[in-house]
């Protein structure tokens, strides 16, 4: 007797992002086992990320290197200039990269941090004399070479620099990991006199000893990130009088470049994953509040394996926080528009992007640094090259893991994906060998009434949606469904996947 097909509708699959922490069998189908080169789009669907378009046309000064940091300089007069670093050089420009390295200044590392402060852009890297640029001089110069600089000694050659509360703050020196120096008010080149000063927090660490990694400003407080501690000072607008407001033990920051402001909160990567400062302060380092709780093991492994740099960016326009492990060429994309029930952000993974630096311009443009120079986060190809969008569901048991499931049909509903070839994949019982069904969506050009010519385009709604029905084979107690597509010029969103299966006998 023929059995009734059981329909399991995966609506907006993976809209909760990747979850590699929970048991596949117990997972909510809204999670994904894999979501590569994906984002959560504005409708809450999993979709292909945007690509990047290289704007640099002359990258001679960069050579074979890659841009390790990008920063836009703006002053009150409206002057703007984009600075970047790479190939042991200080570089300016976007289309044609220009070497701005001061004459006689030797650089052998590209771990610079650039901050724009009060008409100047400052560049700090541990063990190197800070560099400064303003529109008056029109050139990058060593800070001590600046006409009005004072107190520029190796004591302030910090790795971390923060422009906040009308001052520059620097920390993380070669031989001093517990002292923070701050400049005179509104003057980042005065490190003696005025209201400049320093604070040694070696006696303040909550667990005895730590090393400063990063600094941040939040709610009139100076946030000092150690490797495994956080110290908060209130009243940082008057640093000589600021007072210890809070300390958090057990959670620190892995790298200064993982700290990003989201307007109302502060995100940073700790050794247990991505954290929210606000929540950390509230919850006093409770580990369950990790924003990367769904991929904790993955991200911990990634940060432990990282041998180069961490780079991150927050884009309110895109609604994500990107975290790149440069030596592993992997970027995690955290959707910051909301958190899941467990307090985690929805996260997807962007492998092999080659992104090595980010910056968000004042107009919201997201600049990406690569070996090709400066790119913008736009379009749906990586500078003309496609990239693979992947979605794999967790193993589905359809509510009864003891019975055999026999897949009959897969009915994906895709949005966009013009002229794309889509591969539907399925496998049983945690097998990593997937059966594949391929289909091509074909060219879809939006035709508008009264605008497009008859027979030239097909009338569609405003959004191109494709539904396909694919026959499937095999059986097993658990089923994993996947979808892959090469993204090369057009967006793709996965609206839903309708899985038609027969429920078989008990095993």
């Amino acid at each position: 007797m023929a059995q009734e097909l059981k329909s399991i509708n995966l609506v907006a699959p993976a809209f909760k992002g990747v979850n590699t922490e929970d048991s596949p069998l117990a997972q909510d189908p809204s999670f994904a086992e894999i979501a590569d080169n994906a984002v959560i789009d504005k409708r809450g669907r999993i979709a292909a990320r945007k690509g990047h378009t290289v704007v640099t046309t002359n990258k001679t000064v960069l050579g074979t290197g890659s841009l390790r940091a990008i920063k836009e300089f703006r002053d009150d007069a409206g002057n703007t200039k984009v600075f970047s670093v790479g190939n042991n050089k200080i570089i300016s420009g976007t289309t044609t990269l220009v070497d701005e390295t001061p004459a006689g200044y030797s650089i052998n590392a590209d771990n610079w941090k650039l901050v724009d402060f009060n008409g100047r852009i400052y560049m700090f890297q541990r063990g190197f004399e800070p560099l400064v640029y303003d529109n008056t001089s029109g050139a990058v110069e060593a800070m001590s070479d600046h006409t009005h600089a004072t107190g520029v000694t190796s004591a302030i050659y910090g790795n971390e620099v923060l422009a906040a509360y009308g001052r520059l703050w620097t920390a993380d020196f070669t031989a001093n990991k517990s002292t923070i120096y701050w400049s005179d008010l509104l003057n980042g080149i005065h490190w003696t006199g005025g209201s400049s000063g320093n604070i040694d927090i070696s006696k303040v660490w909550p667990d005895g000893y730590d090393e400063i990694v990063a600094l941040a400003a939040h709610n009139n407080a100076l946030i000092i990130f150690g490797k495994h501690s956080i110290i908060v000072y209130d009243g940082a607008t008057s640093p000589a009088s600021m007072t210890l407001a809070d300390t958090v033990a057990g959670i620190g920051c892995v790298n200064r470049d993982t700290v990003q402001y989201t307007g109302t909160d502060l995100l940073f990567l700790s050794h247990t994953g991505l954290k929210s400062f606000g929540r950390t302060i509230q919850e006093k380092s409770m580990p369950i509040s990790s924003l990367s709780g769904n991929i904790s093991k993955d991200i911990i492994a990634a940060l432990q394996n990282e041998t180069e740099f961490f780079r991150s960016v927050y884009s309110p326009e895109e609604g994500f926080y990107l975290l790149t492990f440069t030596s592993q060429a992997v970027t995690y994309c955290f959707d910051v528009r909301g958190t899941l029930e467990n307090g985690s952000y929805r996260v997807t993974r962007w492998p092999s992007t080659g992104f090595t630096s980010f910056t968000r311009l004042t107009d919201g443009t997201l600049y990406i640094g690569t070996t090709n120079g400066i790119s913008t986060y736009t379009g749906y190809s990586d500078n003309g090259t496609g990239y693979r969008f992947k979605y794999y569901s967790p193993s589905l048991t359809f509510g009864d893991s003891s019975r055999v499931k026999i897949l009959k049909k897969l009915k994906p509903t895709l949005v966009g994906a013009n002229d794309a070839t889509v591969f539907m994949k399925w496998a049983y019982d945690f097998d990593t060998t997937y059966a594949t069904a391929e289909f091509t969506i074909g060219t879809q050009i939006t035709g508008f009434y009264g605008v497009s010519e008859y027979t030239t385009v097909e009338f569609t709604a405003g959004q191109l949606t494709n539904q396909r029905s694919l026959n499937t084979t095999g059986y097993g107690t658990s089923v994993q469904v996947g979808l892959e597509s090469e993204i090369d010029g057009f967006a793709l969103s996965l609206q839903e996947i309708n899985v038609m299966a027969l429920i078989g006998k008990l095993l």
Binding site: T179, G194, G197, N198, D200, I201, K203, V204, A240, S241
Partner: protein, 320 residues
């Protein structure tokens, strides 16, 4: 004793012996010298009264001479006696506390005074004068060591509270996580640390100024104490001096009485001498007058030959 007589008219000088000799010593030679006068004088009516008169006159003359001599000797004896009577008579004074003052006449005729305190007074005087010396010595020393000592003492009193405040601030700063703050605007420290350092410096400065003032006051006090001790050290001596005042008055009275007695003695003695002189003078005058009368009678020419006698006598006493 010879009394010189000056013969003005002739310039020759004869003493009384010469005259007496000329008058009666050796009548032979004298008469010889007189020449023709001898004959006249050898007349009995002339010779005897003349000789007696001459002797009497000579006796008067001699007595007058003795009277002067006796008066001179008496006056000299009186002066010596009065000198002895008015001589300063040393005296001593001993106070009730055992101090004494003595006077004596030195071989040179001066008067020396000696004072002595009782052992207790001397000990007290030594103590007081020693104390005065000590105070003056301290007052004369440079003030810096004392200022430093006073400053250290004041700071020693201030330091415990300062240390408590420092520890409290340290704890407060540690609680606020600000122990390591160093701000150029606050001298390389925190505002609180600067305020505390300023307060401590002010206290230190105040202590320093106070120490200077105190040392100065002490110096003045020591000088005043030295003065007081010095004055007190001489107090036994002053008291001794004061105690000698009545004795000195008594001595003065005694001296006065002594002088007065000597004066009276002198006056009385001089009165006796004068009376004696007057009597002797009267006797001498009487004898002189008698002798003169005899001589006058003898030499007065009765009827004749008078002018010759006078001329002869005139030539007699005329010397070429």
């Amino acid at each position: 004793m010879a009394v010189a007589t000056d013969n003005v008219s002739t310039g020759a000088v004869y003493d009384t012996d010469d005259i007496m000799d000329m008058a009666g010593g050796s009548s032979g030679s004298f008469l010889d010298m007189l020449g023709g006068l001898g004959d006249f004088l050898s007349q009995p009516s002339v010779l005897l009264p003349g000789v007696v008169g001459g002797l009497l006159t000579g006796e008067a003359y001699g007595r007058l001479s003795d009277i002067g001599q006796q008066a001179r000797t008496g006056a000299e004896d009186l002066a010596a006696t009065q000198m002895e009577q008015t001589q300063f008579r040393p005296f001593t004074v001993t106070t009730a506390t055992g101090a004494d003052m003595g006077t004596r006449v030195t071989p040179e005729g001066g008067i020396a005074t000696t004072m002595g305190l009782s052992p207790e007074e001397a000990a007290l005087q030594n103590q007081l004068l020693g104390g005065a010396g000590g105070f003056f010595g301290q007052a004369m020393q440079t003030r810096e060591p004392r200022e430093q000592a006073i400053f250290e003492r004041m700071r020693r009193a201030q330091r415990p509270e300062e240390e408590r405040q420092r520890l409290a601030l340290e704890e407060r700063l540690a609680g606020q996580g600000r122990l390591g703050v160093s701000s150029a605007a606050y001298g390389g420290a925190t505002p609180e640390m600067l305020a505390m350092a300023t307060a401590q410096e002010e206290a230190r400065n105040t202590a320093m100024l106070g120490a200077m003032q105190q040392a100065q006051a002490e110096q003045m006090q020591q000088a005043a104490l030295g003065q007081q001790f010095l004055g007190a050290g001489y107090l036994p001596q002053q008291q001794l001096m004061a105690a000698t005042q009545p004795a000195q008055q008594l001595a003065a009275l005694q001296q006065q009485a002594q002088l007065q007695g000597a004066g009276l003695f002198g006056e009385a003695t001089m009165s006796g001498l004068e009376a004696q002189l007057v009597a002797e003078q009267a006797r001498a005058n009487l004898l002189g007058q008698t002798g003169a009368g005899l001589l006058q009678g003898a030499l007065t020419p009765r009827s004749t030959g008078t002018s010759d006698l006078i001329s002869t006598l005139g030539s007699l006493f005329k010397k070429d």
